[in-house]
């Protein structure tokens, strides 16, 4: 039964995709009628003006462009023109550094806060104030104080992906069942051993959920950060193509961002599955 469900879902997905592409194709057909113009003048004008071509690219154009990027993902024509693969690699690298730092800080800190109700109450207002600050609000401050655009981008990833992991760790640690802690106490388990053998495994699923939210946020943030500082990365690619008013390439980048974001989420979901336990 489950196999047939998968198949049926696949068919519905495929049908939806086909409808979407068809609608897109029809919507971007354009009038197709050539405007009457002096030929010398027409030579100086773009296809939108001369042939009534739609300003919005159709699915065929996007597909073609996407294929040309996939065929040549790693070309390097100097500092301002690199392949889509290289740009994505830069972004992923930045996300990985900022995100790892965030996890490295958030999990131990969350552990300590979660184990101490006093600290939890005392630090809560700070966390609540810092949590909702947009990455773009941090960016000028980071650029101005860190004085390095690459480090600034990493800092922004760090500061924005810190909070979900921290809050979830605090929650997971503070919600460990009282009975388990009591058992540990009666067995006279030391603090460290208790933390690693009882609390960590019990809180792991919640921590991983936090980390999964964090990676999503980190991936959202990197595009905005790179658009702002430029240089390299998929966000820069979008900005660069926008400068060129090349909507085809902007759509290609959007697709790439979505796919990479999905892959990152899938990896974290797999990890979460590894540490969940049945109760």
């Amino acid at each position: 039964m489950s196999v047939s469900l998968t198949w049926r879902a696949a068919i519905v997905s495929g049908a939806l995709f086909a409808c979407l592409i068809l609608a897109w194709h029809v919507a971007t057909q354009g009038s197709g009628t050539a405007a009457t113009m002096d030929p010398e003048y027409a030579k100086l004008m773009g296809a939108t003006a001369t042939q009534g071509k739609s300003a919005m690219p159709g699915p065929l154009e996007v597909g073609e462009k996407l294929w040309s990027h996939i065929k040549r993902p790693f070309y390097d024509n100097g500092p301002n023109d690199k392949g889509l693969g290289i740009q994505l690699a830069y972004s992923i690298l930045r996300v990985m550094i900022g995100y790892s730092l965030a996890v490295f800080v958030a999990v131990p800190a969350g552990f300590l806060i979660g184990m101490s109700p006093l600290m939890s109450k005392a630090l809560d207002p700070y966390i609540q104030v810092l949590k909702p600050i947009s990455p773009l609000a941090w960016m000028p401050l980071a650029l101005y104080t860190i004085k390095d655009s690459s480090l600034s981008a990493i800092f922004v990833i760090f500061i924005c992906s810190l909070w979900p992991t921290l809050i979830n760790t605090v929650f997971g640690v503070s919600q460990v069942r009282k009975e388990w802690l009591n058992v540990a106490k009666t067995l006279e388990v030391g603090t460290f051993r208790r933390a690693f053998t009882v609390i960590l495994p019990a809180a792991a699923p919640t921590i991983l959920t936090g980390m999964r939210i964090s990676i999503g946020i980190a991936w959202l943030v990197i595009v905005a950060a790179e658009m702002l500082v430029g240089g390299t990365g998929i966000g820069y690619f979008v900005w660069n193509e926008w400068n060129n008013l090349s909507i085809v390439n902007v759509i290609v980048a959007i697709v790439a961002i979505g796919v990479v974001g999905m892959i990152l989420d899938l990896v974290l979901a797999r990890l979460a599955k590894l540490v969940t336990f049945p109760e």
Partner: protein, 463 residues
Amino acid sequence: MSTFDNPFDARRGLNNTGCSCGHHASQVEHDRAADLRLQAVTPDVSEEKAYENIVASAVMRKLFPQDVGRRAFLQSLGASTALAAISQFFPVKAATEAFAAFGPVEKKDLKVGFIPITCATPIIMAKPMGFYEKYGLNVDVIKTAGWAVIRDKTLNKEYDAAHMLSPMPLAISMGVGSQPIPYTMPAVENINGQAITLSIKHKDKRDPKDWKGFKFAVPFDFSMHNYLLRYYLAEHGIDPDKDVQIRAVPPPEMVANLRADNIDGFLGPDPMNQRAVYDGVGFIHILSKEIWDGHPCCAFAASKEFVTSMPNTYAALLKSIIDATAFAHKAENRKQIAEAIAPANYINQPVTVLEQILTGTYADGLGTVKKDANRVDFDPFPWQSFAVWIMTQMKRWGQVKGDLDYDKIAKDVFLATDTAKLMKEVGLTPPTTTTKTFVVMGKPFDPAKPEDYIKSFKIRKES
């Protein structure tokens, strides 16, 4: 007309008055006729040859103060014989070698930031066309996301120098909108080259008096675009602060907003004016040269610290920029330049669009092909009176308040004397003064009396 001509070309004039051959009413017309005759000139004359030309230029100018004499001399002997003849009594070779030697550069690998607009042409083309290499530098030109980012990245030394809007180094030095940091502007990138573009739906509203309630975009608050648009509107009786809305919008968004009917027009940098025409969403109302012919726009800027701590690097870099600017000035090179700067690594625009801007043969968006060889021009000399004019407009529109020491700020930021020295070294004839008067929309500007100038305007912000 130009300071950039070959001294051994009998058809060209070395002195800056009128047409060089005497057959045309103006130099512009002469150049146009010459364009038909001249094949595209290849840029890479060997380095030695270039220096030799430079030295010879100076010698020829001394020998023949009147162009008529030089021309007669050249026509009777032929260029190469003439050079040989002069070498008899002036050691051109030795002087060339002495001239080519300048101190070793302190830093060879440099980063120069730019915004992808045609105003940056000399900075950009110097890379693919080898002008940086010629002066012993390895420069990376880095595309940058916006004016504020350019400012921050040069301030924190990620960039050694950058493409800026002429008013920016002034604003940074004066501490308007940021901490005051001594900044310099040793070269103007381009003169003219902007336009007022209106949405195609306003094609019947060509009189600015009908523009009340319009929404306009300019690229940055501290930009020639902002001041020129305000000036133009005010001259037509429209108060730019009350009757219309002027917003700072990044250039690519200008075209998108025009398409989305979100703004009525903009005074923006190219390629966006031409791009709006190319995409059929706008038309060019006037070129900015019709407001002020010869106005400066973008600039090559560096921090004072860079200028003083690495004098040789700075000199080499500025020489390459000046040299590239001289090359870009020549109409016959423009097509070649359009091709060099069109790729994704640089401006990233269709070649047709760039060619229309640089050659000045363009579609106006209303169905006519227009020709104006000086639509955009390149001249590096940073006239200090330009700086004074910019400051009068900053004060006129309330960006700065109180008394300004116009002359001192202009001298500190617009390094005209430095530029003049280096222009001589690359074989050009810089002007002998650092200020000049000019006319903006029929109204003469005297840099010696900036306050009177401000007071003479009916529409201005009360201060």
